[in-house]
């Protein structure tokens, strides 16, 4: 684009610049696609290797995919081909995951910003946050099972409690490192406390907050799976059921499904982050 020669006349320039632009876009798309050449290669090698091994624990990917189709994707196009089993499990899992994530996000950011802005509060609560961050969340599961028994409440509680710490820690860290000069300036210009929070503190803490939210989203998926191992529905339960039934393609299928879900969640989050942080140039 930058090396394109300047067009001689105006009339021609619109026509001539149109061609190369489509060309570059197409070439960019093609080169992006070409970068994925490893994917079919890996799939092929996986298929051939598993076929050669004939090991029951390592079914070929083609078998995994057909098994996944039989299990979940025999429904009508109107429901995105999801069948009843899928519809009885996927939305519930996703709903609990998002509910826990939103709860942890709102609670963690609110409390974290408060802690970050008050150095006294920070000194009081820092050891507790460090402890919460260090707790291996899955170890809490028996405790939550005893508190709530199985069900949606237990799962959402496990997810929320397990993932709130990175959000809390990062929000506190972000709110603590607001440039003091910016706050002084805002005060000089007569911004109220609320305005300072919304216009100075939150925006400058946002990159850290988003880093925490992203980490907690991938943690939420892990905790969702673990909590559903001890439950009667959801993707995690399907995985556990397949394991108990010695249905290896089913186990692999659930893992692939969870991988796709994790990938989509991460991509969706990146999109959200990009929109929210467009102004922030120092972002990686």
């Amino acid at each position: 684009m930058t090396t394109r020669p300047p067009a001689p006349t105006k009339g021609l320039s619109t026509r001539r610049s149109f061609g190369p632009r489509v060309g570059t876009a197409l070439r960019a798309a093609l080169s992006r696609l070409a970068r994925l050449w490893i994917v079919p290669v890996v799939l092929l090698v996986w298929e051939l290797a598993t076929r050669a091994m004939r090991h029951p624990f390592f079914p070929p990917p083609s078998l995994i995919v057909t098994h996944m189709r039989e299990l979940w994707f025999t429904g009508s196009p109107a429901t995105l081909w999801l069948n009843d089993t899928a519809l009885a499990n996927f939305p519930q899992s996703l709903g609990r995951l998002l509910a826990g994530w939103v709860l942890a996000g709102v609670g963690g950011v609110t409390l974290g910003v408060a802690i970050g802005r008050s150095s006294l509060l920070y000194r009081f609560l820092d050891p507790i946050i460090q402890f919460g961050r260090a707790l291996p969340a899955p170890a809490l599961l028996p405790m939550f099972l005893a508190l709530f028994s199985t069900g949606t409440r237990m799962q959402v509680a496990t997810i929320t409690f397990g993932i709130v710490w990175p959000v809390l820690f990062n929000a506190a860290d972000g709110a603590r490192s607001v440039e003091p000069g910016h706050l002084e300036t805002a005060r000089v210009f007569g911004l109220s406390r609320g305005q300072r929070l919304a216009r100075v503190i939150l925006p400058s803490a946002a990159p850290k907050i988003f880093a925490g939210l992203r980490l907690s989203l991938s943690l939420a998926l892990i905790l969702m799976v673990i909590a559903e191992f001890f439950s009667t529905e959801g993707i995690g339960f399907q995985l556990r059921a397949a394991q108990r039934a010695f249905d290896l393609p089913g186990v692999w299928g659930a893992i692939v499904l969870l991988g796709i879900l994790g990938y989509l969640l991460n991509q969706g989050f990146l999109l959200l982050e990009k929109r929210a942080l467009t102004w922030h140039d120092a972002k990686m």
Partner: protein, 264 residues
């Protein structure tokens, strides 16, 4: 410095305030139990848990379990470092390899590690092997990504200088890139250490087995005062997590005190 602050203005001391914060929370939990806000059948009193936790510290069986978890943790982490650091150096210094493997990494990384436990339960007959494999899968990513990221931050001038003096690619990698990437690798290892502990305990919880903190928690669940023991063991797991993380932060500060980005 700290004692003087402690005497003059106690609320300036992080240690004192932190102590008050923890004590306050414990008292609050104790009061909630005693006043009947939280049923003691559902959730044990804070004091009961603390007594149980203190008792666990002298319980040889629990100490054996802690030792088993830590052995798996240390072995898994060491193996992960041995694999992930060279892999990160390779990916970070040879762009063609990085470009080729990036899609594979981006598809593997989002797979929630615990989802692999049911599969690993079939594949591995030895529980220790399984724990180590799960630890390696999950804690490879932070080390790999940090190593790759660190290599990108190496001062190009230093590399060029060495190259001008006739050093080869490998020499430049070992003499300039690796030392200046080391703080990033250390951060990756610290994050990986936390993940490794989580994976070790999760594997013990989900795949059964006879030793480890996770196995202790599962076993405790079936005893009459199971919940107290479970919570007490979880408290220990959290304290161990703080201790290992603190040790890594301390080591990082000592070794890489010259690096501006060293963890606070």
């Amino acid at each position: 410095m700290i004692p003087r602050l402690l005497f003059r203005r106690p609320f300036d001391s992080a240690l004192f305030c932190g102590f008050l914060g923890v004590t306050g929370l414990l008292l609050l939990a104790e009061a909630a139990g005693r006043l009947g806000l939280v049923s003691t059948v559902q959730f044990p009193l804070a004091s009961t848990v603390l007594v149980a936790a203190a008792g666990l510290a002298a319980d040889p069986e629990f100490l054996l379990d802690v030792g088993a978890t830590f052995a798996a943790w240390a072995m898994g982490l060491a193996l992960t470092v041995a694999v992930a650091v060279p892999a990160g150096l390779l990916l970070g210094s040879v762009p063609a390899v990085e470009r080729a493997l990036r899609p594979v990494i981006e598809f593997l990384r989002p797979i929630p590690s615990v989802a692999l436990i049911p599969l690993a339960a079939f594949v591995f007959t030895e529980r220790l092997d399984m724990k180590i494999a799960m630890i390696m899968y999950a804690s490879t990513w932070p080390i790999l990504i940090n190593t790759m990221y660190g290599l990108r931050e190496v001062d190009p001038l230093a590399k060029e200088t060495l190259r001008t003096f006739g050093f080869g690619r490998l020499a430049v990698l070992l003499r300039v890139s690796l030392p200046s990437t080391a703080p990033f690798i250390a951060t990756g290892v610290r994050v990986a250490a936390t993940i490794a502990l989580i994976l070790a305990i999760s594997t013990e919880l989900l795949a059964g087995g006879s030793d480890g903190i996770g196995a202790f928690i599962i076993l405790a669940g079936s005893s009459p005062d199971g919940l107290t023991l479970t919570v007490a063991a979880t408290v220990w797991a959290g304290l161990l997590g703080i201790a290992t993380n603190g040790a890594f932060v301390w080591a990082e500060r000592r070794i890489f005190h010259w690096h501006p980005g060293t963890a606070r």
